[in-house]
Subunit: 429 residues, 2 copies
Amino acid sequence: MLDQDVASAIIEAVDRSFDRQLRFTQDFVRIPSLRGQEHTVQDFMASAMAERDLSVDQWRIDVDDIKHLPGFAPVTISYENSFNVVGTYRPATRKGRSLIFNGHVDVVPTGDAARWTTPPFEPRIDGHWMYGRGAGDMKSGLAATLFAFDAVRAAGFQPTAPIHFQSVVEEECTGNGTLACLQRGYKADCAFVPEPLQPKLLRAEIGLIWFRVHVAGDPQHASGFTSTGANAIEKALALWPHIKALEDLWNARKCDHPVYKNHPHPIRFNIGEITGGEWTSSVPSTATLHVRCSVLPGWSLSEACAEIEACVRNAALTDPYLSNNPPRIEYHGHMAEGYVLENGAAQEAVLADSHRMVFGTALEEEVTSAATDARFFGLYQGTPAIVYGPICESAHGFDERVDLNSLRAVTKTMALFLADWCGIERVKA
Amino acid sequence: MLDQDVASAIIEAVDRSFDRQLRFTQDFVRIPSLRGQEHTVQDFMASAMAERDLSVDQWRIDVDDIKHLPGFAPVTISYENSFNVVGTYRPATRKGRSLIFNGHVDVVPTGDAARWTTPPFEPRIDGHWMYGRGAGDMKSGLAATLFAFDAVRAAGFQPTAPIHFQSVVEEECTGNGTLACLQRGYKADCAFVPEPLQPKLLRAEIGLIWFRVHVAGDPQHASGFTSTGANAIEKALALWPHIKALEDLWNARKCDHPVYKNHPHPIRFNIGEITGGEWTSSVPSTATLHVRCSVLPGWSLSEACAEIEACVRNAALTDPYLSNNPPRIEYHGHMAEGYVLENGAAQEAVLADSHRMVFGTALEEEVTSAATDARFFGLYQGTPAIVYGPICESAHGFDERVDLNSLRAVTKTMALFLADWCGIERVKA
């Protein structure tokens, strides 16, 4: 546990640079790092790391490097612009425990920008909120890792263990960015992912499966003057209630789950996109449902997929046309196991101490219906992964925003955590 | 009624040039004249008309010229490439009755080209069928107008009345191409539209309305970790059964209709396209249904629209979210009245004679659940409009095809019709 004077010095350093941190975060949010166009924001992060004398490793993700690894998720886009950046601090002499800070730069689409109060990539501060796509999820948290590091040094200290600052892509769709960091050999004694799931210790997160249901119709003239055909959109719509019914079925199983039994609604089947048809006066030849569903930690992904496939197959059997023209299922992204933080007593203790020094209260725990990249460290590397971050509202929605009071406090917790976990020594003048 | 020898000479001329007609039709089909890219096919048609010494009028449709006219339909695309071509034959001395041949060059999208037996824009003849997008609907019919004209002249005759060959765009979505021909002043004593609705006299066609239903959701993270939001796609899906129910309601009204009371199913509400959402793991912020519906001749379009709007409004009231966030209706294309051929006794008599000379049978009548551009001539110009054409299968579908036996016969009927209606005189050597 840190000395109170040391902690106070670090906390004050966070306060001193917080305006600068906000400006940096705004610059960060301003770059529209939608999937497939994260290259410029990664240059921005690489520069920020280089300015801090971190050793910068920036590389394009190569699917061939990772496709055989556990945790890999199917890729449907080009990774031409999909770069990771890792900035590494190495102490002159290593004494403490190493640390990985991990956060993602990719953001989800904004939806109709006209429905935002102000443009989504023009970050706006109003009261204690910063608005903008990615402001909460999760550029503020990722930026905070660098400013936590700054604060320790500004207070006159240097860490005594290696720290890797991982700025990754692909968190919102596959997790392949963090997987590529593992594949490249990055490993530490603790991982810390400041996702905006509140300043609480995340005990568990769900897993995710993305799948598409493709229905092929029998296109004809909409008048039916030669044949009525089979409307792919209507056939797809008829499948959806069957698929959605899995949500209740799977949620009911939470009662058997040690961690999720008290969560009100961990499993969600979300139809996130739909496409179908090409011409208003043609019976549509295609329709596709794009679905995100969740699984509880410990569930087998292959069994979950088999259950989804059986559900769609059985639903198709209720329709004469679909019986003979069965829908096709494609897995087009997340194929993620759930994760429960275990064997992290040391990490948790340091977080609890750091949190108490900032908030003056005991660290609470959270169990979430969302997923993060923390799973990779925990499941595939044996590294306990802390998820702890600021408060965000309307993630993935209009007027996404991060609470700046929580951001300031969380930055302090992270700085103290870094100092306590890695160890610090006073820099000789 | 034509002299039998004259008729035989013309019929033989059609036979003699039929191989050439097929090659021309294949060249015509080969040009992928999808909406917004019909300019090259219209150059092709302009050349074909110029080769026949027709006076060629080729112009870009200007919405400002037609937007105030009855029959105009809303436009959502640029007309940058939307040209009409009219080739006019003028006799030295005018004696007979003038004629407009009208056909459209625009074709609907192919759907997944891989599901065609052979590529949709590589027209293939197999037995008595020609396959290809637009082969039936309606390039073969439009090409036949020029070859009918050729046959009359090849037999040694020249027509004694003006003939306008109208090659129009926008039939599949608005009808604004033919409307622009009316606006430009083209008028005749008869219009003839060789749509592939069989070699029968089309007595009546339905009207069309295209509308979109836009639903705005409340997008959130699909996990529901901050809010569950409102899924625009699911809300839109819930509206569809209400809208589709209008089909039965409106079909029931056919019992009161003098022409449609015996048609099995004149009204169809087709959901032809659907779009929604942007990200699989976001609760979608938007969803849009693209619907084509039909109305019977004599129905008021504004009343039909009001009924659709009331239906959607009432459906929305069954959902708490939609009650407060009502869907928006947009009219994005066809706004077409139905049409019954009337006051065309003279035209019908000539068609019946011509048909009998070719087929040896009486001309039958047809009432269709489809629409054509014939309505413009009948409703807004007082010109009786004949629709009569070859047999087509899978219009708007995969492997669209036209029956070449029917095409050959219909070309003969059209040539005889032209000769009889317009009058002919023997060309002096």
